[in-house]
């Protein structure tokens, strides 16, 4: 019995650390008129961060960057339920919901994976509007100040050109 309890206790963090399968979000875009899919991880991400320049060296510890953004012609063309697996994953012990703004038909949530010494193990943003849904998931060690600095890091404003050709999966799901 004691052994079983120890095994169960050991299994909880192991389960919590399992990576989220971003394929499950593809259902969201079934009726989308435009989409932006970005998946950067492993060597490709290391390659990308090495080309960012010294000013943005704080991003060199990232282990995964995932963006799914879908735009719809009409309201109600995606199911909130398709976001449920991600929200369930973000409810695990590691993640804390730090922002939850709900308006009539819009929700914005920010989740952080807090680590000791003012460090973050990840950042997730879920933004759902009637005609647009965006999920940003950044995994890897970040300083809390880096998140605040994001707007001042020389990252250009890039207008999202929705459309099939802009589906930027570096790793084909």
């Amino acid at each position: 019995m004691k052994t079983a309890l120890i095994l169960f206790a050991a299994a909880i963090p192991a389960f919590a650390q399992q990576n989220f399968d971003f394929k499950s979000l593809d259902k969201l875009g079934a009726n989308a008129t435009g989409s932006t899919n970005i998946t950067l991880e492993g060597d490709t991400l290391k390659l990308a961060t090495s080309f960012l320049g010294d000013d943005n060296s704080s991003f060199r510890n990232l282990t995964g960057v995932y963006v799914r953004s879908f735009e719809f012609a009409k309201a109600g063309q995606y199911k909130e339920a398709d976001l449920a697996p991600l929200r369930a994953y973000l409810k695990t012990l590691q993640w804390t919901k730090v922002v939850d703004v709900k308006e009539t038909d819009e929700t914005s949530e920010i989740y952080l994976h807090a680590l000791p010494n003012n460090k973050l193990g990840g950042l997730a943003i879920v933004s759902a509007e009637p005609k647009e849904v965006t999920v940003v998931f950044i995994a890897g060690t970040l300083n809390i100040s880096d998140v605040g600095k994001l707007s001042g890091l020389g990252i250009p404003d890039i207008k999202l050109e929705h459309g099939g050709a802009k589906s930027n999966d570096s790793k084909k799901d």
């Binding site: 991400l45 390659l47 080309f51």
Partner: protein, 112 residues
Amino acid sequence: MNLDDELKAALRREPAPADFAAKVLAKTTLAKTTLAKTRGSQARVLPFWRPPVTLAIAAALTLAALVPPAVYRYREQRRALEARDQLIAALSITKVQLQHVRERIQNTRHKI
């Protein structure tokens, strides 16, 4: 003249000219010298490691050794630049989303 006499006359032994041996020796020496000269000049133009086939093979091997690494480097660089652009796009979207959330929070505060 009968047939016997004609044959004897035709087959009679005649002494060689006095300079016959010298002429033959001279011609033999000339032939040897010419042959040696021809061989020598061929050796100078095309040594054993310079026939066209050998050169072609060497060129092909050199190309085979140099081109694939260059192509690999070019592809890797292109992949890195594409990845960097994607990362910048992802961070840009993150920035926009964070600003969007901040604006919503501010709007909510104003309403309160």
